[in-house]
């Protein structure tokens, strides 16, 4: 049993700054949980509290059935991979990986055995006698992961482990981490602000903003049913388009567009959200909802990304074909049937549930 539970966690730093506000989080046994959010939202703080590197101001953290608030990091049976790898510069790779076991008094042969196994999984066999400074960034990253897995802990904690790698290596390591988790099935908490990492690695994702957990759900549910405008805008790239306006009798109007919404009881100010891929070009006899001059065209081959403005709001459309559109051209747009989100115009900007929105579990 190695689920991790945070109950009413508050982190108040010495200067009085509250970095994590009343966090509730349950990470299931064997789950890969990703923490995402913009810089400074408290992801690392949360992770470091789980690790025991940062004290909890209020609330409890459980690993399995044990309350770990007052345990030393070394007694929590967790392993952590740091953003800067934090390899011991004066030790060889072998010593680095075996250090945690050595500290726990594990038998020498057993250490060698486990280090060799980990080295094999991570293709580090030929580097075991090197010092960290004699290795590339990608190799160091592997050693850092190796140091975590030889311990066979009940949970792995990662703090932006891939952010120091170049784009290609990052993709490669990402798939390796996914493979590794599939193999080991160890409970994992993974901090990143790269949402591609979040979407591809996570069994579930926790989205944080300004110290508050916004939503916890599977990647696709987050994508399709964002709880509020923040999550809607944060998950997905390019980000969701937002249009401010008003709803009157199930008709949204704002920024010069009118859109009939089915079965929405909401009345009054609201924000309409449309994902870039849900905007399409009106062809034939489909009536366009709005028609605007395109400002920038990005042709990627398999898709075309169009940037334009609607009454001052910058919008993006992603069309899944190669279109020979030029900047300045006037293009008529329509929104795919029922592919819109509606958000309250309150501080929380909660999403307004509407039955007509297609159920993601059915397609």
């Amino acid at each position: 049993m190695s689920e991790i539970r945070l109950t009413n966690i508050i982190k108040r730093y010495e200067d009085g700054f509250v970095a994590v506000k009343n966090a509730q989080l349950e990470i299931h046994d064997g789950e890969f949980m990703v923490l995402v959010g913009p810089s400074g939202c408290g992801k690392s703080t949360t992770l470091r509290m789980i690790a025991g590197l940062e004290e909890v101001s209020e609330g409890d953290i459980f690993v399995g059935d044990q309350r770990v608030n007052d345990l030393e990091p070394g007694d929590r049976d967790i392993a952590m991979v740091f953003q800067n790898y934090a390899l011991y510069p004066h030790m060889t790779v072998r010593a680095n990986m075996g250090f945690g076991l050595r500290m726990r008094g594990v038998d020498k042969n057993e250490i060698d055995h486990r280090v060799n196994m980990a080295a094999k999984i991570l293709s580090l066999e030929n580097l075991l006698n090197r010092k960290p400074k004699e290795m590339s960034g990608g190799q160091r990253q592997r050693v850092a992961v190796g140091r975590a897995i030889v311990r066979q802990p009940s949970a792995f904690l990662f703090d932006e482990p891939l952010s120091n790698l170049d784009a290609k290596l990052r993709v490669q390591m990402r798939t390796e981490l996914a493979k590794l988790h599939h193999q080991l099935k160890t409970t994992t908490v993974y901090v990143t602000h790269d949402q591609v990492e979040a979407m591809t690695l996570g069994n579930r994702i926790t989205v944080m903003n300004e110290g508050v957990i916004q939503q916890v759900d599977t990647p696709l549910n987050l994508y399709r049913h964002p709880r509020n405008r923040f999550v809607a805008g944060f998950i997905g790239s390019p980000a969701m388009n937002f249009i401010r306006g008003n709803v009157m009798e199930s008709v949204f109007s704002g920024s010069g567009i009118r859109l009939a919404l089915d079965k929405v009881s909401h009345q009054g100010p609201a924000t309409l959200g449309v994902r870039p891929e849900d905007l399409t070009i009106a062809k034939g006899d489909t009536t366009s909802i709005f028609s605007v001059p395109i400002e920038v065209v990005e042709r990627m081959g398999h898709e075309t990304v169009l940037y334009f403005q609607l009454s001052g709001d910058p919008l993006v459309a992603r069309i899944e074909e190669d279109l020979a559109i030029k900047a300045g051209e006037n293009v008529p747009f329509t929104i795919k049937s029922q592919r819109w989100h509606l958000f309250e115009a309150t501080d929380d900007e909660l999403r307004i549930e509407h039955l007509a929105h297609p159920d993601p579990n059915k397609n």
Binding site: L53, G74, N84
Partner: protein, 276 residues
Amino acid sequence: MKEPKGITLLRHAVLILFSLFAIYPALNVLSISLRPGDRLRSTDLSIIPEDWSVDSYISLFTEQPFLTWLGNSLLVSLLVTIFGVTLASIGGYAFSRFRFVGRGAGMATLLTTQMFPATMLMLPLYVMIARLHLVDTFLGLMLFYTATAMPFCLWQMKGFYDTIPVSLEEAARIDGCSRWQSFVRVTLPLAVPGLVITALFSFMTAWSEYLVAAQVLQTSENFTLPLGLKSFQETMSTQWGLYAAGAILVSLPVVILFMVLSRYLVSGMTLGAVKE
């Protein structure tokens, strides 16, 4: 990049000139130590005089209490080094890693103490040592040396620890180390260049110090080397040969130390300049 020959020549000429300035006095001392008798002034320009002899050196060891002084100096200097390194390695760590009340003020105070000339401290120091009944004892001398070397050592070590990423200790703690173990097993080994500089500085503070030793130590058996050397001067006629021979022998260990440790000195001085 290739520079014009003229510049290279000029550069070397300047360097050689300054090297001569630095080396000449030392060579002169060597020369005096090898002259028989007490010929301080000599028109002879050769470094090793034709009638050279090592009489002065032999006399140092046989007729003079040179060995006693050497022992005293070694004892005092080594103990001061051990005190200094131990205290500075722990204290510097605290200043670098912990946020406590008085941390900033403490660092500033330590720095301020470095701004007073040592002679100014002489009188209050003597009074303190006297009240502690430590006049003419090594302990009194060592207390003062350790105290005067400590601010520099603390700053040095603090600066050094600052360059060692905290995440290394955090990794160690997650690997099962206590705070103390992470310090001993991870931080301290990485701080070796800093420790070496601190040790060298502590050693030098004690090894070549004269003024304070002259106040605290009074009997000839307790003299450290600088005091002993000076005592050759105090009689009506200075024994220049002994004085010079002694000076050479005193500086020898320091020269050797510097040569052996130069590797660390360079890495210690450049470490902070490069980001990890």
